[in-house]
């Protein structure tokens, strides 16, 4: 026991942390103990509110003003100072000793790289600041060291990037800059708080790979805080699972994944969708909300599953953004697809691929430059893009939208009743009493207690808020719902709840979905037909099975390969070069690159599976590639 203790870089013993809220102490970390051995990676897993971020803040001495450590020790054994152990919990919060550790011996990176960097200072300035604080160099040398660090984290032209501002960098590069800042003083411990949650899968794989490389090069330990079990399986040596401020289970990554004992951990493993789920298999939510049968007037006529007809035909949509002077950027180009009645159509792609723009254009929230959107009503086809004023207003109820951010998409100044009623008021549906009755029905329908109608959104959790958003979308009894990343802001456990709710509603109400997401596993779970977008174009489209089993396009393949699975036997292959953007056509084989305008065409691979490739190619050429 004593021997292992001496090798631990960080030991947290029976830590208690409380927050003072309205004069009362609210304990959020209730006696947590864990250790981080030198040079290893320990993952701290839990959903939001579990206290995992508070633990990391305690280690850095960065608790919010109203937070107090009122029990336990945080022992940091700096390998650079043999035999000396510091109890961080006992240090003065902004004193010299803790400031020496912060940034010098313990580095930290955060979830959102944009807001974590100052927008008005160059990244070189911000990174070098950390260096000069702990290891002062003469000016010129410091710049050289900083540029060397930038090169190490993967900046191709460090000299130029030194003078760049964060807003000039992509999300992945910003996170690399954060890494450079945290690591420039060669700390013994890196605390990474959800370091890749805000990044696209391919970029996530790159950053994870980079962290591994830097770890083996610098020999530092990593305390990785995440809710993504896929990331854990690929990165961690040891795992600590926390739930409501207590450790549920701890052990090596093998133990945790192969022999989960605690029911919470088992449930967590079952709640995340993966590609192996059979059709019709249901996610098991941690806290299942029983579905209620929706009232009859909400239902659409039953859909004939055997021969579904298209509800929406999208043809050759195009959208460019640009200033009067500069060159314009093509955000969406030549996007065509059909959504069948009663089905879920998945649109996948990384940020900036144009998927949200497509959704917005269908909703008429943005104007399309060209192309057409035909909505096949029971009475006949409607050209959505040609609708004007009053026609558009009366058509609006047919398509509704669910948004990504459950916080900002609900007005904080309106009660839930007002929020759900608003569409009905705008459209002049029913009397006051009827609208209220309908709101009650809708609340039951999404699994919320109708007594909550008089509350304001801030008293609900993220998952509940998203349910309110769903109820609002259902208020006008739409045929088509556009779900724009509806679960990406939610925890795995809550995500399962919301996805199941969407599925149940689809089945019981006969709804049709356009499901926009960057998360392949989620789309796999939800959608029958899937289109993959890159750089504004659909590069591959087909039924779920075909697309996931036999991906033809290099970008689809890269996407599938980059998803970290919570499975130790199928770890990410970090040796496969994730460098460079996987969505960059230059990284694709020749057949998939545009040599001249219009040289690319959708090639039929059979069974409704198409891939964008050179018009000279045959299906065989493409699948062989």
């Amino acid at each position: 026991m004593k021997e292992t203790a001496s090798k631990d870089l960080l030991r947290i013993e029976d830590l208690h942390v409380s927050f003072a809220v309205h004069g009362q102490l609210n304990e959020v970390v209730k006696g947590i103990s864990l250790r981080v051995p030198a040079g290893r990676t320990v993952a701290l897993v839990g959903e939001s509110g579990s206290g995992k971020t508070v633990i990391s803040q305690s280690v850095m001495g960065l608790l919010p003003r109203n937070g107090v450590v009122h029990g336990g020790r945080i022992l940091f054994a700096d390998p650079a100072k043999e035999g000396k152990v510091i109890d961080i919990a006992a240090l003065d919060r902004d004193g010299k000793k803790i400031r020496h550790l912060r940034g010098g011996r313990i580095g930290m990176i955060f979830q959102e790289p944009m807001s974590s960097l100052s927008p008005v200072h160059t990244i070189g300035d911000q990174i070098q600041e950390a260096l000069q604080l702990h290891r002062p160099h003469p000016r010129k040398e410091a710049r050289a060291v900083t540029e060397e660090m930038l090169r190490l984290v993967g900046f191709r032209n460090p000299h130029h990037s030194y003078d760049q501002y964060p807003f000039e960098l992509s999300g992945g590069l910003r996170q690399r800059a954060m890494l450079a800042m945290a690591l420039i003083c060669r700390p013994a411990l890196l605390i990474a708080d959800e370091p890749t949650t805000a990044l696209d899968v391919t970029i996530q794989a790159q950053v994870l790979k980079l962290m591994k490389e830097l770890q083996s090069e610098m020999g530092m330990a990593i305390l990785l805080i995440t809710h993504d079990l896929g990331v854990v399986a690929n990165m961690a040596d040891e795992v600590v699972v926390v739930y409501r401020g207590r450790v549920m289970e701890a052990g090596t990554v093998d133990d945790i994944f192969r022999h989960p004992r605690h029911p919470y951990l088992k449930a967590l493993l079952k709640a995340s969708p993966d590609f192996d789920m059979a059709e019709g298999e249901r996610l098991v939510a941690l806290r299942e909300v029983p579905p209620t049968a929706p009232p009859a007037d909400l239902r659409h006529e039953p859909v004939l599953r055997a021969a579904p007809t298209p509800l929406l035909n999208v043809r050759n949509l195009r959208k460019t953004y640009g200033s009067k002077h500069g060159a314009s950027i093509v955000a969406v180009e030549d996007v065509s697809f059909d959504i069948l009645r009663g089905q879920c159509f998945g649109l996948v792609g990384e940020s900036g691929s144009g998927k949200t723009t497509v959704g917005n254009m269908i909703m008429r929230a943005r104007s399309a430059d060209s192309g057409s959107v035909i909505f096949n009503d029971r009475t006949g086809p409607v050209d959505v893009l040609a609708l004007q004023d009053e026609e558009l207003r009366t058509f609006r109820p047919r398509m509704q939208m669910i948004f990504q951010d459950p916080v900002s998409s609900l007005s904080p100044r309106m009660t839930v009743l007002d929020i759900i009623r608003e569409p009905m008021i705008v459209q002049g549906r029913g009397t006051d009493a009827e609208q209220k009755k309908r709101a009650v029905e809708l609340m039951e329908c999404v699994g919320l207690d109708p007594r909550f109608l008089s509350r304001y959104p801030h008293s609900f959790s993220g998952g509940q808020r998203q349910r309110i958003g769903i109820a609002r979308a259902l208020a006008l009894n739409p045929d088509l719902i556009i779900c724009d990343e509806p679960v990406s802001a939610l925890d795995v456990s809550v995500q399962a709840q919301v996805l199941n709710l969407l599925k149940d509603l689809q089945a019981s109400l006969g709804l049709t979905y356009l499901f926009v997401s960057h998360n392949l596993a989620v789309v796999h779970y939800m959608a029958e037909q899937i289109a993959v977008m890159a750089r504004g174009r659909i590069v591959e489209i087909g039924p779920r099975e075909a697309l996931f089993r036999r991906p033809a396009h290099p970008y689809t393949r890269a996407l599938l390969k980059a998803v970290p699975l919570p499975d130790l036997d199928r770890k990410l292959d970090f040796d496969v070069a994730f460098t460079g953007g996987a969505s960059d056509p230059a990284s694709w084989p020749e057949e998939f690159r545009a040599t001249a305008p219009g040289s690319l065409e959708m090639i039929d691979l059979g069974g409704g599976h198409f891939v964008l490739a050179d018009r000279a190619c045959t299906a065989r050429d493409v699948t062989a590639a």
Binding site: G103, F110, S118, L133
Partner: protein, 333 residues
């Protein structure tokens, strides 16, 4: 890039001021009568015989027999040559009339702004870094008092107590004997001795408002993630505060410069009347009452100039301060 931007901005100022001057002129022309008719009516009412030949002469001299459009261009044309027109009431050129007052106005205004910033910044920073403490509450209370009490009232109270307690007469910006005298050391001393009272009185409200603004802005910035990052680097709290959140909250003040200049100049008129300051405020007030149109019009145009220049200064400063600001216009939707 930046030079071109500044140049473009200065060029844009010209049409802006032209449009403003046209507006001002139109407003001055709107009342059915003009200064001479008012004067004639007044004199007739007092039973005096008006000197019609003199009035006719002035009317011709200033083109009142011409169409308004022509008079407008004469007025504006004069501006370029430094001729701001003629004050009928005081019977002297506007330039000579305003002369020293303009300088004093600028002196009072800038001293006020400087004082506001010097006082407001430390207090605001203290309030934001010690929110909901007794110090914060106390300073907030004082600041709110400053905002709530009208300037002229504060001026009256100060004058009253200065007289009752110290037997002092604190009106004016200098001893009356120095007014319109050439600048001398004794005059400067007299100005400095008188300056601080109006500056404090006029600045009280602005300081209170600014403390509130600094506190609110800084409190917002202190919650931001980048401040946590700065502390996670090991920066001492003070240094981190100045380099990151304070720097960010500066944007607000810089963009506020454009507003401050005209507010301070025109907002202090009542106070100036009460304290009988030799600034432009009381003059403008009187000119508006008596329809002394060249005097009033020139004043208003002077105020617009200040606004436009203030906005220019703040825009240039913002461009330096915040790299995210794009110097090239462009639409995004």
């Amino acid at each position: 890039m930046l030079l071109r931007y500044i140049l473009r901005r200065i060029l844009i100022m010209v049409p802006t001021l032209l449009v403003t001057s046209a507006l001002i002129f139109t407003v001055m022309e709107l009342p059915p009568s003009d200064y001479f008719e008012t004067l004639q009516a007044e004199m007739a009412a007092q039973g005096e015989h008006a000197d019609t030949s003199r009035i006719e002469f002035l009317k011709r001299e200033y083109g009142f027999d011409r169409p308004p459009v022509e008079r407008y261009f004469r007025w504006i044309g004069g501006f370029v040559r430094g001729d701001f027109g003629y004050s009928f009431e005081y019977e002297m050129p506007v330039r000579d009339l305003v002369g020293e007052r303009l300088g004093l106005t600028i002196l009072v205004s800038f001293s006020t702004i400087l004082l506001t910033w010097l006082v407001a910044f430390p207090i605001g920073i203290y309030s934001a870094t010690h929110p909901y403490s007794w110090g914060d509450y106390g300073l907030t209370f004082v600041g709110l008092l400053g905002i709530a009490v009208p300037h002229f009232l504060l001026a009256l109270i100060t004058m009253y107590f200065a007289n009752v307690w110290f037997g002092l007469s604190i009106g004016g910006l200098m001893d009356p004997i120095y007014f319109n005298e050439p600048m001398s050391w004794a005059k400067v001393q007299s100005i400095l001795a008188h300056l601080w009272i109006p500056v404090i009185i006029i600045g009280a409200g602005g300081t209170g408002t600014m403390v509130r603004a600094i506190r609110a802005n800084l409190l917002d910035e202190l919650q931001k993630q980048y401040y946590v990052t700065a502390k996670a680097k090991g920066l001492p709290p003070g240094k981190a505060l100045v380099k990151y959140p304070l720097r960010m909250s500066l944007n607000f003040f810089v963009s506020n410069i454009g507003d401050i200049l005209p507010t301070v100049v025109s907002g202090s008129e009542l106070t100036a009347v009460v304290l009988s300051l030799q600034t432009t405020g009381p003059l403008l007030l009187r000119a508006l009452q008596s329809q002394d149109m060249y005097l009033a019009g020139s004043f208003l145009l002077f105020l617009s100039c200040l606004t436009v220049i203030g906005v220019l200064i703040s825009d240039i400063a913002l461009a330096f301060l915040d790299p995210r600001i794009r110097l090239q216009g462009g639409s995004l939707k």
